[in-house]
Symmetry: C2
Subunit: 418 residues, 2 copies
């Protein structure tokens, strides 16, 4: 018997029949002997409907009032889900962010959680009640309603799980879990039974949009085991936790992520002197453009080449800024390319295993795929390649690193899960 | 400069453009130098939409969850109205029942207000803010959301007005105020400038459905001057307050109310002995049927006749119950009629003026209208007549008592209002 937090997003509660299906899933967990706290989002479409009402009135509605407005979305869902559970014979009680004491700072629209009053949840749980909590919303110390921003419901669920010391926080989505890579590109992509928080962070930020980065960070910080599973299909999904048997054999690579939204800008032959990076990127940052990869390389004796990537939407603007500054920077040339992609291999096993990078380069070379940029971290290697090679690169790497085969680590943990 | 509470119902806030119109009305009061607290209902149709969602899940949803659900209706309106006011350059702040400390008992669906925390409202008012409060909803001492039941928004407005000691509580509706009688029946019906709480209670309960009885009682109890006016047409409406110049000349009659929903049941020749009224009405009450007028008359030496009225929907059921009990009651006969109406004259002036009743009977007699039942109170005379005479009776009485002419009282008070 475990204490579980189950989070269902907007598409999972998008209609009355879907809400009834969610109630069945919760009841199934209850019948297995588990205590359950459910965190839900607004019914899909509802938040946008409310925002559209606001937009009819104002192009810039006061953020405080926007939070009062959109927070009604989850309030509707918690009431309906509690009704569905009661109708099916299980006692249930709903709570808004205010009622549960989901205390946040006062940054309306993207508030950050400070604390949760777990007393009420735990006392309802004790008397056999399913507790249904509105995700995405909180309250300031002065009683003003706040929202956590897009994807905030995942964070709410993790926060509740941390506050009540839940055994697991289960995030129900429309996918079965986290895969070694995108199954639409590599049909042999395998559902991971386990992945670490760090790997998940790298996977998420690289475009595997299963979970909000913020919720993963929060879960990692408070050591809340997270599980991603499907609302609509059976299965155990993917468990995200710390690698607690750090000394044991580990999977070298957990997965291959990629991002099609990047564009590359290169500035060559700039003087190699202190402050040049800031001179190049300062104006970009001022234009509120986010920079992803940055690579600097020695070119000649006293000059250097500098390359960075931005979102494709910001490509034209970035190029314009740099071309304008080229003379001042004493650059030889400014060029760019928006037909590139980033492919990344992620795995905590890299830490202790040499040769991953060289094997990656070898695989790509065998396929005659030219690498334009390389960037590495402790548990990740990213390369920028021509976008036409994306699928080929992903499949070749997936196969070369045997990702379709379960790794020893995943096998072991699958035993300890059941 | 006065402190005003303005209440706008569902039809007044039924669309974005109507909400913007309400904002304009509030701003107009602000520009006249008044401080304003606005109390609003859910947008028309919204409460029913939410209840329909609940009904898809359960025929008897838990009342606590139903309150969580429907209370989102007003929450949407307060946010949108605050946005509209801000957009038009006036600072505004919304509050839910919970946020304003609208403390109620824990009878979900028809909670009664216990107290309001006026501190927050008054401090916002002090800094020049329009305060926008969600009507119809409250919160228990334990933080559970409650609703006050149908028409509860009027009561919310009165409660807020009492708590902050407002100069006037203005109820905006789709009529211009309270008339001497229904203008659809007597085109000469006159808009009253003034009416007392007691008169309004008699008018409301008799079918002039302008204001909820409960709100009028509440206003009377806390001596909150109430004003009924139209959202869509200009005008000063009708002020409802205590007759504070009790010694002065008063209008004899304020208005003529009527009720088409009544049916009459008569039981004749029952033994005139203690307890007989209870024996007759006990089984009716047990069937949850509400009885309106009750008249008992001496018939023979040792028997009595007993007549009462019920809602027409309850007519068949009441008749059946009485016929079943007729033998036990030793009644000669049980009969009924559901083609009758009640016509009532209401006026505090009756207290000090004799002869109103006899004049009323004379008027009806001249029109050959037969009176079937009579019932009187301090400020009201009601008669039951054949339904086909309703319009004739109302017009004859309206004319005979000169209700189309402003009374001295109304003239005087109209001066003191401006």
């Amino acid at each position: 018997m475990a204490l579980l937090v189950q989070k269902f997003g907007g598409t999972s509660v998008g209609s009355i029949s879907k809400i009834q299906h969610v109630a069945d899933k919760v009841i199934s967990a209850r019948e297995q002997g588990h205590d359950v706290v459910v965190v839900v989002s607004a019914m899909s479409g509802e938040t946008n409907r409310l925002i559209d009402l606001a937009k009819e009135i104002s192009t810039a509605p006061p953020p405080r009032e926007l939070d009062v407005l959109v927070s009604t979305g989850e309030q509707v869902t918690i009431a309906l889900l509690s009704m569905a559970l009661t109708e099916k014979g299980h006692s249930a009680r709903s709570y808004t962010g205010t009622q549960i004491g989901m205390l946040t700072d006062n940054v309306h629209g993207k508030a950050r959680i400070r604390s949760i009053n777990s007393e009420r949840i735990l006392s309802d749980i004790k008397r056999g009640c399913v507790v249904v909590v509105a995700g995405f919303q909180g309250v300031t110390g002065e009683g003003h309603i706040t929202t956590l921003g897009r994807g905030g419901s995942d964070t709410s669920a993790v926060a509740v799980a941390a506050a009540i010391n839940a055994d697991e926080c289960q995030i129900y989505t429309d996918v079965k879990g986290v895969y070694t890579t995108d199954p639409r590109i590599e049909s042999k992509a395998r559902l991971l039974k386990n992945i670490t928080f760090e790997e998940m962070l790298e996977m998420a930020s690289l475009g595997s949009k299963v979970l909000q980065i913020r919720a993963v960070e929060f879960a990692g910080k408070h050591n809340v085991p997270l599980r991603v599973l499907s609302t609509f299909e059976e299965g155990e999904g993917t468990l995200i936790n710390y690698d607690e048997e750090g000394g044991m054999e580990q999977a070298l690579i957990s997965g291959i992520a990629f991002n099609r939204d990047e564009a590359q800008i290169t500035i060559t032959g700039v003087p190699d002197k202190p402050g040049i990076a800031f001179q190049i990127l300062g104006p970009i940052a001022e234009a509120n453009i986010e920079v992803d990869m940055i690579v600097q390389n020695v070119a000649g004796d006293e000059t250097t080449d500098f390359t960075f990537t931005v979102h494709r939407n910001d490509y034209d603007c970035s190029l314009k800024i740099l071309k304008k500054n080229a003379v001042e920077l004493q650059a030889e040339d400014v060029s760019g390319d928006d037909t590139i992609v980033k492919v990344s291999m992620v795995g905590v096993g890299m830490r202790s295993h040499a040769g991953i990078a060289s094997k990656m380069f070898e695989v790509l070379s065998k396929e005659s795929i030219n690498i334009r940029m390389i960037s590495t971290s402790e548990i990740k290697i990213s390369v920028i390649i021509d976008e036409k090679y994306l699928e080929l690169a992903v499949r070749a790497l997936h196969s070369a690193f045997n990702l379709e085969e379960p790794s020893p680590q995943n096998e072991e943990n699958s035993l300890s899960e059941t």
